[in-house]
């Protein structure tokens, strides 16, 4: 059976968490196991996944919030609270980006998701409805 990258990283992290003193040995065994499974070509992916997991755990997950103008603090809070709930995290980092070409509203990007509430996209949708 093929083992997926998240399965590898989860197993590794859970083992280290249960026996932190044995970390070095566990990592050495883990590397040997991955090589034995002929999965050494996936090391890059495994490292990437581990970094992402750790970021998530430390509340360092970055979320892009794109708006036409700087948003008010209240609006920002509403959005970040919603995202925290969605991603089941206590802390997230919001990176604000100002893009006047979206005209109004906002766009949020996190993980591989996007919430497009921009005026530009709404106008495109409206145009589609009218042309039908």
């Amino acid at each position: 059976m093929k083992i997926s990258v998240p399965q590898y990283t989860r197993a590794l992290r859970e083992l280290i968490a249960s026996e932190p003193s044995q970390a070095k040995q566990i990592i050495a065994n883990f590397v040997a196991l991955v090589v034995k499974n002929n999965d050494s070509y996936r090391f890059a992916e495994i490292v990437e996944q581990l970094q992402a997991d750790i970021k998530k755990e430390r509340g360092e997950v970055e979320v892009e919030l794109i708006s036409a103008r700087k948003l008010r603090v209240e609006s920002q809070n509403i959005i970040s609270n919603y995202l925290k709930k969605q991603m089941k995290l206590n802390e997230i980092k919001v990176k604000e980006i100002i893009k006047p070409e979206i005209l109004g509203g906002f766009i949020v990007r996190y993980d591989d998701k996007i919430i497009d509430g921009s005026l530009q996209q709404n106008l495109v949708n409206f145009k589609k409805i009218l042309s039908n």
Partner: protein
């Protein structure tokens, strides 16, 4: 004018008030690689099989379909022009299966497999969307084939009858009249309340324009939709074309109507699918086709059906076309499609070049379910015809070696010659069923034995004219289709009267 303005304003108001600005969470991925109409997209963990994807390129949104779902990758085909899509462009899931707009307004139109107009008459107005891929109706909703679908071609209606809901393969080499049979069949549906869909897959656009012109001339475009994925379109469009055509047909089926659908041709469809599969790195099998090439066609042809009364009683009759190389029907795709369909019409180059057109090989052509749906009168006159046609070809080959033949053999030979003469038929001239019954009745009952072979066609034309002038036979056929004493008397009478006017009988 005032009224029209009001109407437009009212409609606008309705659309504006009905517009909801909604926020939805969408999965996004990014294009990793794009080549040959195939894109590899990262992310999109929630993508479904054959889900519609939207590629956000610099030139607006371009549609695609997810075909390969892998660990962190989605392999997708791009429907339309992929040259504007660049690496790292965004791709969003739509949570919708690929669908096309369908409706009455598609009749008389030429569309591409995405439902966009190709005939310059503006986008057809449609209200419904039908999924391109759909599971075929199940056993409970079906019924066996019991109504004939007249092709108007004598040789087919007599020997290889087709019923509504049947799948009959038309197979033969290039340039031998496969499309001609399908087009004649469409033309013959005029006034018979059958809607037609002609799906052109990988055909030359010049050929399609000729076909559309012919159909218009014959008044057949009124009930026909042409779905065109031409030779210049990418393989992805060729691949979805037959399924899109079937979705158009299913719209009419759902209304309880009868539909005839022609897939011209499925060899090119298989080739397009092979191209896509190889580019998606699926393992090649026999003739480099992927392992699921049988399912590719079986799931398409299984959608042809005859529904029972409780389910509307509509039907989809499918006429798939397969092009063979040098008459080889044992190649991979021909054998597959032969085994899926309910019979095949095999066209043979030898017959074609001898002038027997349509060049139907009576021995290799069969219809597995159609005979139960044949018109009763036709069934009676045409019963022995298939056997006689096959016997004649055998005898003719045998008779070449010796000149002394017994009376029975020479009688069979003479009859056979006339039979093959009667089977000849011009293109775009389908024949009404009562005329077919008339000529076959004359033939099998020996009324034509004294007509010289070279004048058989002249005799035939005259006989039809005689039947047209009196009009009695046509009238009788509208009330019943059985060959009873009354009909037989009328047939005899028509033939004898006509024969009395001739001076060339021996």
């Amino acid at each position: 004018m005032e009224n029209k303005k009001d109407f437009i304003i009212e409609e606008l108001k309705q659309q504006i008030s009905g517009f909801k600005a909604e926020l939805k969470e969408q999965s996004v991925g990014r294009v990793l690689k794009i080549a040959d109409g195939i894109a590899l997209v990262s992310g999109l963990r929630e993508a479904m099989m054959s889900e519609l994807l939207l590629f956000k390129s610099s030139q607006g949104e371009i549609a695609g379909v997810a075909l390969n779902l892998e660990d962190n990758l989605v392999g997708a085909i791009i429907l339309g022009e992929g040259e504007h899509i660049k690496e790292n462009d965004e791709v969003v899931c739509t949570k919708k299966i690929l669908s096309i707009p369908v409706g009455e307004s598609l009749l008389g139109r030429v569309i591409n497999p995405l439902g966009e107009a190709l005939d310059g008459k503006g986008q057809p107005e449609t209200k419904e969307l039908y999924p391109v891929e759909k599971i075929a109706p199940g056993v409970i909703t079906r019924q066996s084939v019991n109504e004939p679908l007249q092709t108007g071609i004598k040789a087919i209606d007599a020997m290889i009858p087709i019923g509504k809901g049947q799948r009959e393969l038309i197979i033969g080499d290039r340039q031998i009249g496969k499309t001609a049979i399908a087009i004649d069949t469409i033309i013959n549906q005029k006034g018979k309340n059958v809607k037609c869909v002609y799906v052109a897959i990988g055909q030359k656009e010049s050929k399609i324009s000729t076909i559309v012109k012919k159909l218009e001339e014959a008044g057949a475009m009124e009930y026909t939709t042409v779905v065109l994925a031409g030779a210049s379109n990418p393989a992805s469009l060729l691949y979805i074309a037959p399924y899109a055509g079937c979705a158009v047909a299913e719209y009419f089926l759902a209304k309880g109507e009868d539909v005839l659908i022609v897939y011209d041709d499925l060899s090119k469809h298989a080739v397009a699918y092979r191209e896509i599969s190889l580019l998606l790195r699926r393992p090649p099998g026999r003739e480099a086709y992927p392992g699921d090439v049988f399912y590719l066609h079986s799931r398409l042809l299984e959608r042809a059906c005859k529904l029972n009364k409780e389910n509307g009683g509509g039907s989809i009759t499918a006429l798939p076309i397969i092009e063979t190389q040098a008459g080889d029907i044992s190649a991979y795709i021909p054998t597959n499609v032969i085994s899926i369909t309910d019979g095949q019409i095999f066209l043979e180059p030898d017959l074609f070049y001898k002038g027997n057109r349509p060049a139907i090989n009576a021995g290799l052509s069969v219809s597995r379910v159609g005979s139960s749906a044949q018109v009763k009168a036709m069934k009676k006159v045409a019963g022995k015809m298939r056997l006689e046609a096959a016997q004649f070809r055998e005898l003719a080959a045998f008779a070449q070696f010796g000149s002394d033949l017994d009376e029975e053999t020479s009688r069979k030979l003479e009859r056979g010659k006339r039979l093959y003469e009667v089977f000849k038929q011009e293109q775009y001239q389908p024949l009404a069923v009562y005329k077919q019954v008339l000529i076959f009745y004359a033939l099998i009952n020996g009324y034509m034995d004294n007509v010289p072979v070279e004048r058989v066609r002249e005799f035939e034309e005259g006989l039809y004219q005689a039947a047209d002038t009196s009009g009695e036979l046509e009238k009788l056929f509208t009330t019943k289709t059985e060959l009873d004493e009354e009909m037989e008397a009328l047939l005899k009478n028509t033939i004898n009267h006509y024969k009395d006017t001739l001076d060339y009988l021996s």
